[in-house]
């Protein structure tokens, strides 16, 4: 006799903290998580955050009231800390620049290096591959003389790369991406 194939279950994960939403309450970003769930999955939000659900959770907690208050204060502190950290990170991101540089290797050949994408949480390896595919050329991640990672693409693609970054990562503000000329010429061109 043929058994019916059991299906794979799809699980919802929080876009903020990556956990299943029922575990968001333990995450330092729980306020943002709650907001996200409310906006994107109202039914699930209702199930997890309704008054009844909250009361049930409280009943489960075996801690004394005093301890509950302490825990809440601790959690509050962790949350505000996390929020401050996120704000700092955002500030850092906004202040940092992605630099696209054309570097001449000899008279005819040159490479384009892209520095600073990692600050914006971009996976360098994947992006290097995407660049390589897009321009049908060699693309890799390598360390620059300062020991920091950058993407190096064979050929001169400064303008095209800038457009591609806009397209692939619209979250990076345009004014934070700049094309710089090689030091030898020491001429800086403003971002287009």
């Amino acid at each position: 006799m043929e058994q019916t194939e059991p299906a794979k279950k799809t699980v919802l994960y929080c876009a903020i903290c990556t956990l299943p939403p029922e575990y968001c309450e333990f995450s330092a970003s729980k306020k943002k998580c709650e907001q996200w769930l409310k906006e994107t999955h109202p039914a699930e939000y209702e199930r997890l955050y309704s008054d009844q659900a909250v009361t049930e959770k409280l009943a489960m907690t075996t801690l004394s009231e005093d301890k509950v208050a302490k825990e809440a204060a601790k959690m509050e502190k962790a949350v505000s800390k996390e929020e401050a950290r996120m704000a700092r990170e955002l500030e850092k991101k906004m202040a940092s620049k992605v630099l696209i540089k054309r570097v001449e290797r000899n008279k005819r050949k040159c490479v384009t290096s892209v520095f600073g994408l990692d600050v914006f949480g971009v996976d360098l390896k994947k992006t290097a591959k995407a660049f390589a595919n897009h321009f049908a050329c060699g693309g890799s991640v390598s360390k620059n003389p300062q020991g920091l990672d950058e993407i190096v693409v064979q050929g001169d693609f400064s303008e095209e790369i800038m457009e591609l970054i806009h397209k692939l990562h619209p979250e990076i503000p345009k004014e934070n991406i700049a094309i710089v000329e090689d030091e030898k010429k020491s001429k800086k061109k403003p971002a287009a």
Partner: protein, 179 residues
């Protein structure tokens, strides 16, 4: 096991697994985990493109379609938490009480009291060295994957020390690793 894991730093090689080896892994999975057998053709089809990612410290990850579905430590082959969420009945279960959740989420091994208190649950019979799904009081999705360090009977009687060693938990670096 993955508390301080970084794929970028530990990956030493990545290669597709031959179909003859896939067959061997299928057999191993079915014998180690009877719960996997009914789902094996969904989890790891005979002709699946299984990729093996060798890491340091005797850890190997296995991925199908860019999703890590198993990890191996020495000889122990374990389903990832992600796979467990997709197929909730592939592992025997234990349950921790609500108070233990935050400790597990910070990577602590599970102490016996967290498995024997009123909010917790243990099966009647459970042997030592068994890979289990760690559920949590009031939650539907698994919190972690672990391996028992003593039998369920001993956990109840001794009620001290580590009952379940944590292998993978929600939010750990492996959980966050994307291929």
């Amino acid at each position: 096991m993955f508390k301080k894991f970084s794929l970028q730093e530990t990956l030493s090689g990545q290669n597709p697994v031959k179909s003859s080896v896939v067959r061997g892994i299928r057999t191993k999975l079915c014998t180690s985990y009877p719960g996997i057998e009914p789902h094996i053709d969904l989890i790891l089809p005979k002709k699946s493109n299984l990729v093996q990612l060798k890491c340091k410290d005797h850890i190997t990850l296995f991925a199908v379609d860019n999703e890590i579905v198993f990890f191996q430590h020495f000889d122990l082959l374990v389903p990832t938490l992600t796979l467990l969420h997709s197929f909730p009945d592939i592992l025997p279960r234990v349950q921790v009480d609500r108070g233990a959740i935050k400790f597990v989420l910070s990577g602590a091994n599970i102490m016996c009291p967290g498995l024997t208190s009123p909010g917790a649950w243990l099966p009647e019979e459970l042997a030592e060295d068994v890979v289990v799904a760690v559920m949590a009081e009031g939650k539907e999705t698994a919190l972690a994957v672990g391996v028992t360090k003593m039998t369920a009977k001993e956990m109840r009687e001794v009620n001290k020390g580590i009952g379940v060693d944590l292998l993978q938990y929600l939010g750990d670096p492996l959980w966050k690793t994307q291929l």
